[in-house]
Amino acid sequence: MRERDRAALVARLAVKGVPPANMSAVLRHNLGESESPTVAPRDLATLRDADPRLFLLDVRSPLEFESERIEGSTSVPFETLDARADELPADADIVVVCRTGVRATIAAETLARVGRHAQVLEGGILGWRRAGLPLREGKKRLPVDRQVQLIAGTMILTGVALGTLVNPWFLALAAFFGAGLTFAGATGTCGLALVLLRMPWNRLSAMPADGTATCAAGAASTCAAPATPEK
């Protein structure tokens, strides 16, 4: 390493950040302290016909739920599950559903904390579809991050075209959207995404709990320190 000053590098490595979301539930699972049983899609399809107490709990966002869902499932978005756990039928055999099985596993851990046993649909909606099982299709929408990319890209292209062909002042349009994307990338807060989330066609989209919106899911680096060691 070029940087030989131990104290300086240690100080750079010691920067504090925000803990990853749902850390305690993730740790319980990863340490084997609790494990929610899973049910394979084909088995669930059979169970659904045989078990009248089966309760399919879909913890995806309302937008995802409206786009496609397993017939007969009930939407309780992941972010609201803690507060709404007591709304679940008392004697139900709960199977939690999400897109891949990850959110459902954390949701099942959450339910276990309040004394509710739940199974997880293995592979989530994607696994259900891979197994060739039917989904109830709803209205399809572009994800907000793709709407942002589409609008910003169109505006930049338009600004450059009009700035070149009509009047150089139109370049300001491209500059404005370029600056907006740069700001969003640097801060993780995207003004255009916030506006789009309030549009009627996105009305069902769940807002993040802290009221911010990022242009890309998982944009935050939960495991990286700002400090960069040099060799």
């Binding site: 390493m1 131990r6 590098l9 240690v10 100080a11 490595l13 010691a14 920067v15 504090k16 950040g17 803990p19 990853p20 850390m23 993730v26 740790l27 699972h29 990863n30 340490l31 084997g32 302290e33 494990e35 899973t38 891949t100 099985g101 990850v102 596993t105 954390i106 592979g123 696994g127 890309a216 899911a217 998982g218 944009a219 680096s221 939960t222 495991c223 990286a224 320190a225 400090a227 960069t228 060691p229 060799k231």
Partner: protein
């Protein structure tokens, strides 16, 4: 998923989680058709199994480089489905049947010797895996960055010492990190 092939004995499949930059690896000893899985996510267990089946490879060992706090581990599910041995650092609190390893532990992956290095700093139970000039660093060292040390008993001082340990390896050692936050999945010690 990308495949990086070294002459004859070893091939490495990389499993990338879209959006979050998590990287998992399947290290295959080609002569013996046996494999070691490193940091498989829960939502990648199916993909690991499909790759094993497609390539006709038997999974013998599976491990997490540390206790992950940002995603669900697929280690136990993958082990259950394949019969592979679960390995974890001696400092890990992972419950169940686990083969504990620590810095200096060596084992055979078919014809390839595998060495475990202590890599504390990001977490106290962090380890790195060295096999045939490839170093799997987990969240200790990224291609252009370092793991955070501010939760789960992390220690910046320990992480510094871990870097020193990595620095002692040959410059040509290929680093395979647990994330590609900088958009770069591999680098070298040099």
């Amino acid at each position: 998923m990308a495949t990086l092939t070294r002459p004859a004995t070893l091939s490495i499949e990389t499993f990338r989680a879209p959006g979050e930059g998590c990287l998992g690896y399947l290290v295959v000893d080609e002569p013996s058709r046996t494999a070691l899985a490193i940091d498989p996510r829960l939502d990648q267990v199916g993909a690991f199994q499909e790759t094993l089946a497609a390539r006709g490879v038997r999974l013998t060992h599976v491990l997490d480089t540390h206790t992950h706090a940002d995603h669900l581990s697929g280690v136990r599910m993958l082990a259950r489905r394949t019969g592979a041995t679960v390995m974890a650092h001696a400092a890990s609190k992972l419950a169940g049947t686990v083969e504990r390893v620590t810095g200096g532990t060596t084992f055979e992956l078919g014809t390839s010797p595998v060495s475990v290095l202590d890599a504390p700093g990001h977490t106290p139970d962090s380890l790195a895996v060295l096999v045939d000039g490839h170093l799997f660093t987990g969240d200790a060292l990224f291609a252009r960055g370092a793991g955070r040390t501010d939760f789960m008993g992390g220690s910046a001082s320990d992480l510094y010492d871990t870097f020193r340990r990595f620095e002692a390896l040959p410059d040509a050692t290929v680093v395979h990190p647990g994330h590609d936050y900088a958009g770069q999945a591999t680098t070298t010690i040099a």
